[in-house]
Amino acid sequence: MSVPASPTQQIRLRENQLFLALTILVGVLAGLAAVLFSVAIDQTTHRLFGLEPSRWRLFAVPPLMSLVTGLLLARVFPDVRGSGVPQTEVAYHMQGGAIPGRVPLGKFVTGVLCIGSGHSMGREGPSVQIGAGLASTIGRWMRLPPERVRDLVPVGAAGALAAAFNTPVAAVLFALEEIIGDLNASLLGSTVVASVAAVIVERSILGNEPLFHVPAYRLVHPAEIGAFAALGVIGGVASLAFCRSLLTLRAAFLRLPPWTRIVQPAMGGLIIGAILLYSPAVKGVGYEYVDLALNGGLALKAMLLLCVLKMAATVVSYSSGNAGGIFAPSLYIGAMAGGAVGMLVHRMAPFPTGDPGAYALVGMGTLFAGIIRAPMTSVFMIFEITQDYQIIVPLMVANTLSFWISERYQPTPVYHALLEQDGVRLRSSGSAPIG
């Protein structure tokens, strides 16, 4: 005979069922928000720059739009500057998962305006904050217990990231590795459910088109592993350079008098305008050019130049207080650095080598591992993009080296260092534990 459940057990069962239903709905809504965010950025860029923007437009749009976003960021949505990932971590670890309802809205509006107006920033970080914010708002509206509201935050973040990047596994890993900081977290099941729900929604709207078209990878010669290891070292050094310059310039902006905060984004916009005059290819998210690098569509000199310019533009855009992430720029810089290394190896190596596109792909992973410091996510993200198991070995070699160099010479991960600049110290300011 079955024993009837006690009232406590019944309540817990009902709570679990409710949480499962909410997980699916949060995944769907976070996925929709991420898709809408991405589409809105594209439309804004199209409307602000047109098909072939004049030089005047390239120069003027970023600072002029940044005047508007500067006002919004200073007066209406003060907590949505930058990426959104560190803020989500703070909300999860220090604020019981409470993210005010205005945050996802503000992040959406300011993110669209900043990235759409040409700032060199990514849409994934903001998507994470939007998804997490939506999840938190829904949890509180549902009057869930505080610990359940907190649990919904990484669920929303995973859903949004899965839809933004079309990589469900990497999104789950990112939520565990970066937001929660523990790959053994009990929320694995919920994040998986939300991630799957978000990706289903995203694919039903945008189709199952991969974010990048990548060439088939093949390890042509065993010695190529050495070349990939060298790319890992270069990726680590480039990650360090990026993080250091970002933190230094941001500290300089923070030292300016408080009244200047309203115009700081426009100051950054002015520099971005000047950079766009020289090279419009660093505008916005820039995945079009990542695709080019992956498919051998850029010359060596162009890739080296874009690598440096994108790094400079992202540092300026982020440091000046605009709203946007560093996820996409890290992939862009990595693709350019990797593509350049691939071309050099292709030309100079005494053994036969693979396509430079494969190096661009691994380069994306190395910069991601070095800057974001989420090594598992970086491996699985590239694996999900390529759906090619053969890339795993060189990718792991290069990512591990890049991660190690970055961790060795910059012990505090960039997201945590950014929080420390804002006077917030997370309980664990080391790298995310692996395994």
Partner: protein, 380 residues
């Protein structure tokens, strides 16, 4: 007795459950509305992207036509990126990259297209052409074969035939005559009754060295278009190569004047100067042989004057003496078959000597050698 605090608790739980159900319903409704809105906005954005792609494609085409290859590549890349998998844009981009000699990138673009449309013969054909440009002969053969084995719509059968013609031309350029011939045989069985197609096949047969089949195809074409001057020229050349000089002369006389003037002149000289030709009298044979000997003697002596003192002068003098002796025979009307054959053989030796020592053969030199060869009397 009922427990009032227990029933209050049950009622409270019921209210919470009801509220949660309503909230979940609201969230589900919001999700549906948000889905519809997002889908509509995404569709609008997609429309914009497609319009942009079309605009970039037009710009790229213009740049390609005006020779601005780098600009064209840039514009066509933008078009292809905004409308991924669109064959027209991808093929145009590959064309621009090929024109820029960036064969690796062109190949990558085509391979990407092939991933989305694996059974499209047009993409395989472009890959084959690219492989030809890259001197990748095995690759070219592979893609040509894939193109030919693809499912072609019935109305594109002529296009498929053209691909086979193209493959044969590639094989011939690589001196793969045997392979080319077997492709031609396969093609020949299904050639339509169209003069231009038959002439094309005939030309390829000729290039592959099968002049007999070439002449047969040219003649098939001529039955359909008796006055096609290009076909007449082709037929004339094939007949000439086969040693059918009368036929060659007949065709070439009707061909355009500039088609093969030297071949016509040579054929003419062979037909009118052959001492061993059928259906001519012995006087005519003697006259033709005497003409040939006189020409060969003059040619040799002019040559000997230019190379006086050279080692070959002795040979020339011996040949001249032989010719003089034979001419005496001919003058004395001693023109039996053996004398004529010996004369034809001697003339060929004299011509070979003259061309060996003094350089390029004249049309008449060639005609005299061909006459000798025609009767198995060529000295070489």
């Amino acid at each position: 007795m009922s427990d009032p605090s227990g029933s209050r608790e049950v009622r409270r739980e019921g209210r919470i459950l009801h509220r949660e159900m309503v909230q979940l319903g609201v969230l589900a409704l919001v999700s549906v509305v948000a889905f519809l809105v997002t889908r509509a906005v995404a569709a609008g954005s997609r429309e914009i992207a497609l319009r942009d792609a079309e605009a970039w494609y037009r710009v790229g085409r213009r740049q390609l036509a005006s020779g601005d290859l780098e600009g064209a590549v840039d514009s066509l890349r933008r078009a292809a990126a905004r409308h991924r998998g669109e064959k027209t844009y991808g093929l145009a981009l590959a064309e621009a990259l090929t024109a820029l000699h960036d064969y690796d990138s062109a190949s990558q673009v085509l391979l990407n297209l092939r991933e989305t449309e694996p059974d499209d013969p047009g993409i395989d054909l472009e890959l084959a052409r690219l492989a030809v440009r890259r001197q990748d002969f095995p690759g070219a053969l592979k893609y040509y074969r894939q193109t030919l084995s693809a499912d072609w719509p019935a109305e594109q059968i002529a296009a498929r035939r053209d691909v086979r013609f193209e493959l044969i031309a590639v094989l011939l350029e690589r001196h793969q005559n045997e392979r080319a011939l077997s492709e031609l045989m396969a093609l020949d069985a299904n050639l339509p009754d169209r003069a231009s197609t038959l002439a094309k096949a005939a030309t390829l047969f000729a290039r592959a060295g099968d002049e007999r089949r070439a002449l047969a195809e040219f003649q098939r074409a001529l039955r359909l278009a008796p006055d096609d001057r290009d076909v007449l020229a082709g037929a004339g050349r094939s007949a000439f190569e086969l040693g059918e000089y009368e036929t060659a002369r007949a065709y070439l006389r009707r061909a355009p004047p500039g088609a093969a003037p030297e071949t016509l002149e040579t054929a003419d000289l062979v037909v009118t100067g052959d001492p061993l030709a059928k259906r001519i009298g012995s006087a005519e044979r003697g006259r033709r042989l005497a003409d040939a000997l006189a020409y060969a003697t003059t040619r040799l002596s002019a040559c000997a004057d230019r190379t006086a003192g050279a080692a070959s002068t002795g040979v020339a003098q011996a040949l001249a003496r032989e010719a003089q002796a034979l001419q005496t025979h001919v003058k004395n009307r001693m023109t039996d078959q053996d004398t004529i054959e010996a004369g034809v053989e001697l003339v060929s030796r004299m011509v070979h000597e003259a061309t060996d020592v003094c350089g390029p053969a004249t049309t008449r030199d060639r005609a005299l050698v061909l006459i000798a060869r025609r009767h198995g009397a060529d000295a070489r």
